[in-house]
């Protein structure tokens, strides 16, 4: 059963050698863009409720978090379930995470801060919650900038991989940002949900790494 599932996934998505079904990449891109496009259209056509600016900023942030979880899920799926071909989706998912984080940041800078650079700088300095959010976007910037094949060749696979481990730091920063945002409400259900998913995904890596050591 498990092997059959893995075979089907790998055949459809295409393994390291195979090219997979033609529609996989376009479909993945479309699925990644869909929620953001919907949010933006809804925001500009007044379908996001009473406080559309807040709904848009928060919606984009939450999708960044969801895509971060999906990105970090790729390696466990490969190694635990043998779905090796999902690796093909990792770049798309990683770029989606970055894309939503940048849109989240832009929406905040525009709708909350009126694009006043001095206000934004002050806000980043004054509010740890914003500092941490900004830091996670900055950490993702070099990863997004080196996400194409030539960058891997230029950097060399080992250095490239080392650099891209920065995503492990993004996860706790994003959760801290989310936690501080929810702090006043004393309502941490969502923080717990995403926090435990990310903790499990990072925890599994630590566990797998210790297994591999002699």
């Amino acid at each position: 059963m498990r092997a059959a599932a893995a075979r089907w996934v790998n055949r459809t998505l295409g393994g390291p050698q195979g090219r997979g079904a033609w529609w996989v990449q376009p479909a993945a891109v479309l699925l990644c863009v869909w929620p953001g496009a919907w949010l933006l259209v809804a925001a500009f056509t007044d379908q996001l409720g009473v406080n559309p600016a807040e709904a848009l900023i928060r919606g984009l942030g939450l999708w960044a978090l969801k895509f971060l979880c999906l990105t970090l899920l790729v390696t466990p799926l490969r190694q635990v379930l043998g779905w090796v071909a999902v690796a093909r989706l990792r770049r798309t998912l990683g770029l989606a995470t970055f894309g939503y984080a940048v849109l989240h940041l832009l929406a905040y800078a525009w709708l909350d801060m009126g694009l006043y650079l001095d206000l934004i700088v002050n806000d980043v300095i004054d509010r740890p919650f914003i500092t941490v959010g900004m830091l996670s976007v900055l950490l993702m910037l070099p990863l997004a900038a080196t996400s194409f094949n030539r960058a891997i060749r230029t950097l060399g696979p080992q250095r490239w991989q080392k650099l891209h481990r920065a995503v492990y730091a993004v996860a706790p920063l994003a959760i801290l940002h989310f936690y501080w945002m929810r702090d006043g409400k004393n309502d941490y259900a969502d923080v717990w949900l995403y926090g435990s998913v990310l903790a499990a995904l990072l925890g599994w890596r630590v566990w797998a790494w210790r297994q591999r050591r002699p």
């Binding site: 409720g49 009473v50 406080n51 909350d112 702090d183 006043g184 309502d187």
Partner: protein, 338 residues
Amino acid sequence: MPTRTLIRTSRQGFDHAVPSEITPQAMYLQRRDWLRQAALGLGGTALAGWAGREALAQQAPVQRPNKLAALTGKTSSVPGANTAEAVTAYEHASTYNNFYEFGTDKSDPARLAGKLKTRPWTVQVEGLVNKPGTFDIDALLKLSPMEERIYRMRCVEGWSMVIPWVGYSLAELIKRVEPQGSAKYVEFETLADRATMPGLRDSVLLWPYLEGLRMDEAMHPLTLLTFGMYGEVLPNQNGAPVRVMVPWKYGFKSGKSIVKIRFTEKQPNTSWNVAAPREYGFYSNVNPEVSHPRWSQATERRIGEDGLLARRRRTLMFNGYEEQVGQLYAGMDLRKFY
């Protein structure tokens, strides 16, 4: 013209207008005509849009949503009680609420408050008063003539609305129960009914929700014992059947669905202050210069104003009621007593 400081702080006290700055009464009385003329284009096109908006805001009577029983009042004569700003849409004011007894999401109260039973309802008045007692809601409704007051409402979260409330000054009730000299504070206890309020299952806050005011704040004519809004009785999610409205303080100071009013000598514990003392002080006056530890209070988003891309407005000291209430805090360090 005397020199005036550009940025006023609470320590500098009040700037009173000098005679030359006071608008002559005749001109003041003509202001609407002027605005109307400007709106017609005589004042230039750029001005016309603005003036038209203002003129419209001043003329439009409050529209009844026709959802609940009518509750009207005469226009209040209390200074500051009738802002001319555009009134927030009823759909917004009645669907975007913080009422944690029904859940922490802003849409929870409108969705879940339907079960709240607002009849029979009594408000118990106790503590340091000569005439304590239990007031039936129908007796409270008849206690003093109803007034309509259009207040700005500024939430501590950084958004604001303009809402036409119906009620009378809380002072009317306080005078009737005759507080003793030792009564320095008024505590408000709001309903905590597990059967009808699903939010009580989460220990988000200290239940029942407690709020409080200093005696002079409670006696201030702007402090409204509120029974209605938009010409109708309060919807449950807005604190039916009776709440207070203190327009110069952050919204959470104005308790909803009140069941008990207690007069005390010591400053009462308040739910938010107990939950996060560093973030929510007892006073919680609207103050653009004192930031919340996690966000600035310098600006606010007016709900429903010009859609998604509307610029945030500057938050005003005491939410724009400084002229009326500033003297209550003369000499106090408002950074310390936030």
